[in-house]
């Protein structure tokens, strides 16, 4: 701030003060993510500050950490399968909700979005209780079924959002010109809803990939996912070894953020 500007008659001191406040609040919001980056490159053997030097040893160690690698494999298998399943289940539901008139539509729609209103700890308990006798605990099937409920609302919401911004005249025209339902869907509807489907799919992927509570309840002992492994590790020690892994998880989330932002806008998708 230069002297000259300070004495300008219309200078309003509240403005830069507000700017600084917003900047500090952004810093607070990003603090845990930024600190993980710093720690992951610090050569300190045990967690301490300030960093003593730059190193890549934590990253080089990762491939040898079998618990993390196993967790990563489990989480990837689960997240990819969950994404495919909820897209297959959720996109048709969104089509039905938008393109057809039927009774109790509002009820059906709230039903499909309601899993997000139920605390995940409650859902997780219900799942472990039900899946235990069915021999589904500590299995891929158990974790995947568990993740369907909490990811399907995202897919339905983003697909509905894409459907809502288009009118149905193209589809009607194609139909009148003799196209069958499947052709209409593949050639007209699918391109229209593509942004919503992509956004919903990657959100479903990351929600499942990062989910910890349901995975912890359903498969802690037998088939721990990556978030569960990290949780266990961090519970015992908050040292730097897990920082490198955290950075990789943050980068995966960042990729998802970029895809969603490009496809339909982050704010719209997560409203």
């Amino acid at each position: 701030m230069s002297e000259a500007r300070l004495f300008k008659p219309r200078f309003n001191p509240a403005k830069p003060a507000f700017g600084i406040l917003v900047f500090l609040l952004y810093l607070f919001l990003l603090a845990p993510l930024l600190i993980v980056f710093v720690v992951s490159f610090a050569s300190n053997q045990y967690l301490s500050f300030p960093p003593e030097g730059l190193t890549f040893k934590w990253y080089e160690m990762l491939p040898q950490e079998s618990t993390f690698m196993n967790g990563m494999r489990v989480s990837l298998i689960v997240a990819v399968t969950v994404t495919i399943i909820v897209l297959a289940l959720g996109v048709p539901v969104a089509l039905a909700l938008d393109r057809f008139e039927f009774k109790a539509k509002a009820v059906v729609q709230s039903f499909f979005l309601s899993p997000l209103l139920i605390p995940s700890i409650v859902l997780a308990l219900g799942m472990v209780l039900l899946f235990g006798p069915l021999k589904l605990t500590n299995t891929y099937a158990g974790i995947i079924i568990g993740h369907v409920a909490i990811t399907i609302p995202f897919v339905i919401r983003t697909t509905l959002m894409s459907l809502a911004t288009t009118d149905t005249s193209c589809e009607a025209a194609a139909r009148i010109l003799g196209a069958g339902s499947w052709t209409v869907f593949r050639r007209i509807t699918l391109p229209i809803i593509q942004p919503g489907v992509i956004a919903g799919g990657v959100i479903a992927f990351i929600v499942s990939f990062d989910e910890a509570v349901i995975s912890l309840f359903v498969a802690e002992s037998g088939l721990p996912t990556l978030p569960v492994q990290v949780l266990r590790y961090v519970e015992n020690s908050a040292d730097a070894a897990v920082a490198a892994l955290s950075v990789i998880l943050i980068l995966i989330s960042l990729a998802v953020v970029v895809v969603v932002e490009r496809a339909m806008g982050l704010r719209k998708a997560l409203r």
């Binding site: 309003n12 406040l21 609040l25 952004y26 607070f28 990003l30 603090a31 845990p32 993510l33 600190i35 993980v36 045990y46 967690l47 300030p50 909820v86 048709p92 039905a96 393109r99 057809f100 039927f102 509002a106 709230s110 039903f111 209103l117 139920i118 605390p119 995940s120 700890i121 409650v122 219900g126 209780l129 039900l130 079924i145 568990g146 369907v148 409920a149 609302p153 339905i156 509905l160 809502a164 149905t168 589809e171 009607a172 009148i176 339902s181 959100i203 990062d210 910890a212 509570v213 309840f217 990290v230 961090v234 519970e235 908050a238 955290s246 998880l249 989330s253 953020v257 982050l266 704010r267």
Partner: protein
């Protein structure tokens, strides 16, 4: 809170070859939408309705801490937590944590939301994305980040010791302070999103009008900006409140076993003590708390909405 947008395809469809479309799809309509809905309904039945229903049924059984469950229909599991001062304490602590986190979260999110709602900068989109993006990062990772910042050898304590301001490290983790700080940050993106959506009637023109009619900066804020952003603030508070009272990861990690809230208690009863009916009853209590708050919220918004 999330299911607010309504679809009006009928109105959009009006005029756009409506009659032809209806005739073309007419009789197949019913079969088609059912075929589209049923797989999804089945999926949600298996992964959502059955587990919840089974859990509610379980809460009426009788359990012993060693994992033996007596199939019966009793209210014992509800009487036990309601008559034991310890569980009143836990419920009260949970509630208190929700209120504290909700209030603090609003305090730190409001300026950011206000900034984003008003900004005309070309970086607005990017700044908006940065504010919301942490939503899609792992809660475990973000909590770990806070452990690094707040821990005994963490950033805060090392800095303060380095500057000679303290001799012994401050206790910022393994207690409610750490959990509160972590949760406030973790729920900030939710609060910002909810506020911006709730700022509907807030516009720079109104503020300018008030200013040109002679209102001071403070008056513009207290008489125009704040009242118009109140619905957004209220929504954000309730959202953060319900999220905090049910959250598990952060109280578990940053609380380090010394912070007991309903969620950690449910976990301990389930995996540690294997008292499933009791854990189920605690979950039902949490759900009822949840439902009550959402009902109150809907009453309130109706009143405000006029």
């Amino acid at each position: 809170m999330t299911a607010t947008h309504t679809q009006t395809p009928a109105t959009r469809r009006a005029g756009a070859a409506e009659g032809d479309l209806e005739r073309a799809t007419g009789r197949r309509n019913r079969r088609t939408y059912l075929a589209l809905l049923i797989p999804g309904l089945l999926g949600l039945l298996v992964s959502f309705v059955f587990p919840l229903a089974y859990m509610i049924r379980m809460s009426f059984n009788r359990g012993a801490p060693d994992g033996i469950i007596e199939e019966t229909f009793t209210l014992d599991t509800y009487i036990q937590p309601l008559s034991d001062p310890y569980y009143w304490r836990v419920t009260l602590d949970t509630f208190q944590m929700g209120v504290t986190v909700g209030l603090l979260c609003i305090l730190v999110s409001y300026p950011v939301a206000l900034f984003l709602a008003r900004s005309t900068s070309k970086y607005r989109g990017l700044l908006m994305a940065i504010a919301i993006a942490p939503l899609l990062t792992s809660a475990v990772v973000r909590t770990y980040g806070w452990m690094v910042i707040l821990g005994t050898n963490g950033l805060v304590n090392s800095s303060l010791e380095g500057m000679g301001l303290i001799d012994t490290p401050l206790k910022l983790t393994n207690n409610m302070t750490g959990v509160t700080i972590g949760l406030v940050e973790i729920f900030m993106p939710y609060a910002i999103l909810a506020m911006i959506s709730g700022f509907g009637r807030l516009s720079p023109q109104l503020e300018e009008a008030a200013g040109s009619l002679g209102a001071s900066k403070l008056q513009v804020f207290t008489r125009v900006t704040l009242p118009l952003s109140l619905p957004g603030i209220l929504t954000a508070f309730l959202l953060v409140f319900v999220l905090s009272i049910s959250t598990f990861i952060t109280p578990r990690l940053l609380g380090g076993g010394s912070v007991q809230v309903l969620a950690t208690e449910i976990y301990d009863q389930t995996t540690g003590l294997l008292n499933w009916p009791f854990a189920a009853a605690l979950s039902v209590i949490l759900l009822v708390l949840f439902g009550l708050i959402i009902a109150v919220y809907q009453r309130l918004t109706k009143k405000i909405g006029g």
